[in-house]
């Protein structure tokens, strides 16, 4: 059976940091992004730039407001859900399994 495309060799061993991300394919992951953003979603695809395709994503944007009188820090987060998202890699800070609460 002739292959249409030259297939790149894929190994099953973990050799470099990107291989750790490969282990999370099709799993839910947590992504910390620049500008106080976080994503939680299912990893469908990624590349060497950390461009990613995430499914069933929840994006959390966190802002801090300082009360001018009391100087209290008020943390607010805004969430939204997106069914399928392409994420540009240069915004990604870290990738991890979903954080467990408690």
């Amino acid at each position: 059976m002739a292959d249409e495309v030259e297939q790149q060799q894929t190994t099953n061993t973990v050799e470099e940091p990107l291989d750790l991300i490969r282990l999370s394919l099709d799993e839910r992951i947590y992504v910390k992004m620049r500008n106080d953003r976080e994503l939680r979603g299912r990893l469908h695809a990624y590349d060497q730039h950390l461009n990613m395709i995430l499914g069933d994503v929840e994006e959390t944007v966190t802002t801090v407001e300082i009360d001018e009188e009391t100087y209290e820090e008020l943390y607010k987060s805004t969430k939204r859900n997106i069914p399928m998202l392409f994420v540009r890699g240069d915004g990604v800070v870290l990738v991890a399994p979903p954080l467990r609460v408690g």
């Binding site: 249409e4 495309v5 030259e6 590349d47 060497q48 730039h49 997106i82 392409f86 540009r88 240069d90």
Partner: protein, 122 residues
């Protein structure tokens, strides 16, 4: 030869085929929303995406970070300014990527060039 896959050079094609940008290139003709780095969004028809993720959109509704709307006939977004691209629900990712790769390989074979890649589908 007019390149079906729209690459300006072999270099661009290599860059695109080795990253997920190839999926974005399969979005040509679809309506999507692009979230920009400056917190604004642009929703419109994808005209073209190049290897550097520069995106050309037409018939765009642009919403700035304050929520103010502007209609634009044409919008060019540089790759660096892209934060997210919303993928339409109905799209099959693997199919799209494989389709894009097949397209550019068919062109190479058609140009009567060397047979680096295996036979076309018959």
């Amino acid at each position: 030869i007019h390149l079906v896959a729209g690459f300006s050079s072999i270099r661009e094609r290599t860059i695109a085929e080795n990253s997920l940008v190839i999926l974005l290139q399969g979005l040509q003709g679809q309506v999507t929303t692009v979230d920009l780095r400056d917190e604004s969004t642009a929703r419109g028809h994808v005209v073209n995406v190049d290897a550097f993720m520069n995106i050309r959109l037409k018939k765009v509704l642009h919403r700035d970070r304050r929520g103010r709307l502007t209609q634009l006939e044409d919008l060019f977004v540089t790759g660096r300014n892209v934060r997210y691209v919303h993928i339409p629900d109905h799209m099959d990712i693997m199919e799209t990527i494989q389709g894009q790769l097949a397209k550019s390989h068919r062109v190479r074979n058609f140009a009567g060039g060397r047979k680096e890649y295996a036979k076309k589908k018959s």
